[in-house]
Symmetry: C3
Subunit: 352 residues, 3 copies
């Protein structure tokens, strides 16, 4: 059941240095890989480990290859970007064993007669599809998902078990929504009248482009008047919250636990580290990178890496530094006093 290296290179490219008839049965990290695995070197600082790897074959860059080849015994597949090549190779291996859900609607699903479910789509057990919803070709809607009325799911998009996709929302092609994701609930919009909140109906939708991944238990609110927009290629990890009316530019990625408040406009090709937070109504330019745990409290109009979290310390040291941070203006005052005193001393010295 192994895969010939020759076949791999034919399908995925790369320059094979070694026997094309060697067979591999899977991918493994450098140190775990054995004689039936292929491995990869994507970071030059692991050249030594690569050189000693027991893997049958190694995906390696032209830059690292000469060094690795000095000690590594197996076959090499020399490519431009080993990490991307690893991803494609792993995808190919996975495709060979993937359990593809069969087309058709499970008997326990509840599908409104006015919904349009493509004949090639899979609707799993206990799924509910409401009136007017449209499920595209090859889409997979796993057990327990809810698709609201008039929602649209594009071709080849995959909802894992227990996704909630509210009425009127739209997702494009090849998307992935993980379990517990909730798309299209009401944004947090209230007018305050004498302390009491009056709800503002949220009549916009969530409109999601192609090739978007949304993680487990991530929530995306529908727009208040306009729509919440997530452009093509956006990748959202788990436990993320996107507020109403947000606009997330194409190919932006956010790690787990990020929060984006309402009406934020985020550019393309941005990255957000875990638990980064963005306040509402801000604008973030393209190619902005926000570090984990950082609070974005103003718009960022220039590309670059931005950070803002309190450095970790032993608790006793933190207590000292935090006490001073609380009183930094007192410290500044002391410095001003010192400056004045010294100025007086210097002047007196000059005068005398």
């Amino acid at each position: 059941m192994g895969l010939r290296l020759g076949e791999l290179v034919e399908r995925l490219g790369g320059q094979l240095i070694g026997d094309p008839n060697i067979e591999v049965i899977g991918i493994a990290p450098l140190t775990d890989a054995g004689a039936s695995h292929i491995s990869f070197l994507s970071n030059s600082k692991f050249r030594t480990q690569a050189g000693q790897s027991q893997a049958a074959a190694l995906i390696v860059s032209a830059n690292d290859d000469p060094v690795v080849a000095q000690t590594y015994q197996g076959a090499r597949i020399v490519v431009k970007n080993p990490y991307v090549h690893f991803a494609r190779t792993a995808q190919y291996f996975e495709s060979l064993t993937a359990v593809v859900p069969a087309p058709g609607i499970h008997a326990s699903a509840v599908v409104d007669p006015s919904a349009q479910v493509d004949a090639t789509a899979h609707i799993g057990p206990r799924v509910v599809v409401e009136a007017g919803a449209v499920i595209g070709p090859g889409a997979v809607i796993e057990a327990g998902c809810f698709i609201g009325r008039n929602a649209q799911v594009g071709e080849g998009t995959h909802f894992f078990a227990n996704v909630t996709f509210q009425h009127g929302c739209v997702i494009g092609k090849r998307g992935v929504l993980h379990s517990g994701a909730v798309i299209g609930t009401d944004g947090f919009g209230f007018a305050n009248e004498g302390g009491v909140y009056i709800k503002i109906p949220q009549v916009g939708r969530v409109v999601i482009g192609d090739d978007v991944d949304i993680g487990a238990n991530t929530t995306v609110d529908r727009g208040a008047l306009a729509n919440t927009i997530i452009e093509d290629g956006v990748k959202l990890d788990n436990q993320i919250q996107i507020g109403h009316n947000c606009h997330i530019g194409a190919h932006t990625a956010m790690a787990g636990c990020v929060g984006v408040a309402g009406s934020a406009k985020i550019g393309k090709y941005c990255t957000f580290g875990g638990a980064a937070m963005v306040l509402g109504h801000l604008t973030i330019a393209d190619h902005v990178h926000v570090s984990s745990g950082s609070m974005v409290s103003r718009s960022i109009l220039e590309p670059g890496q931005y950070t803002g979290f309190y450095p970790l310390a032993k608790n006793s040291e933190w207590e000292k530094s935090a006490a001073i941070v609380r009183n930094l203006s007192a410290m500044r005052e002391k410095i001003r006093t010192l400056e004045k005193t010294i100025k007086t001393i210097t002047n007196q010295a000059e005068e005398s």
Copy 2:
């Protein structure tokens, strides 16, 4: 299908300056509104945009009206609080087209014979209602919700798809629970015996008042011995965690990703920005406002606005400031040394 301005004013109040027979079909923001929309000006800094709006009618305050009227061509509805009036107008528009779920129990729902479901309530597909639960008049329980044994849902309360409401918990009238919300799971209570955790059964409940909104994937733990209490009019956004035994005062609002640890007592009319955190067993007075991303690590007994997050900077600048923050006590020492040295110099000068 339009709505006459005259009818709107009759229903919702306000002083109409313009033709009552003008018809509008919906609400739109100032810059998007066209000849068939009504819009609103709730912030004086947008007076110029209001003056140029193409909206057929404008909700405006008495204060802003004279300025806007100089250039704005459409009808005006002059009111005390335009944002509240906008909310009510939007509610009215929504009520005209809202899809109201029909009373009755879907054939695929699993309702225990001992549960009491009002004849006017809606129980959607795949809902489970356990023994002894009570669902009030006009309540809407959408697809996939779980209502535990002896739980009570008040009149007109709406659970969107896939809400989990555990045994014995209670919610009052006109509440809204969004998809993925989980109410009444065990609080995080363990006794530690030699490093091993021994579970403390959580036998309290969650008791929620009237007019409470709870966002998507928000979790509220049941009390350990007593109950977790959420008073009337509280509004919780998405992804919030409320620990066991907490007490949230009436008309307090929390934005997304807030966390409140166990046994915290939070006052009325408070607001918490996104991702604010409150430690356990603290007391927060009424009318306290906590900024986004701030950690509340001590009780707050005075009303006011409180903040505590590290300011964002370019990463290179953050690295510098964070390194100094780590060593603030060294800086303080330097200042003390300077003060002593100067005192010595000054004393010598006086003596000489």
Copy 3:
């Protein structure tokens, strides 16, 4: 229906000072307990309250007992660790009234014929169990849960309603998964090719030991190549995110909203306060305690308590201190200038 103190002591240990025939019907906090309750004193600072408690009986340490006995009128159960004894007593009370779900598979559940469900396990309404899954003796899978293909659930493990447990994942004995928990979704792994993300298949699993509790809406990602590991006795609160390939050591506990990025290796007997965050690929030693709201951005190799959050202040004070924090390097420069100036003055004084 009361429980005799004599019976309690026989079952759970402790030295009873008082009438063994006194009956109690439940546990209550010191100040709420009445003549039919048992209470406990686990913190010496509440001795006065204990001395005045109306409880019929009190669980107390040998250390506190003599002081409490001076005023307290009821029976005392003297034990080594009152909080642990309280936990065990509460467990026993709960066991008397607990509703134990009956063995068997609900008619509305969808269980693949190739799944192995033990005859003593409970499978609730609307549950889906996919092909090859194994559900152990006495396991309880409540309404709406999803168990993926080839997943394994150990003896006596309890899934509350609406848990998602993905294919191939494993959990040991006596575990508890709370509603909305999602175990085994894909980790956040992508290779970037010219700005576009290429998915790396996540082919590892999540492997969970015995006696593990996982809170509501908590998410644990499956491994990329290897597995994500959660060892015995780990306790995770609600809304936690554990990234792919993480390894959480035995008896470590995390409070709500914690996030752990991918490939972090966390030791045994650690604790993490609410909303603490751990970056990826870090190593945390055994017995490390991280305070709430703290960002762990480097490995921690020494046991101890670590903290890093910006101290809360009135907003106006925070604005001052935050402005200085942004410019701490300017302040350091001023101090350096002062030091130089003073050195010059001192040198001149010495020279003159």
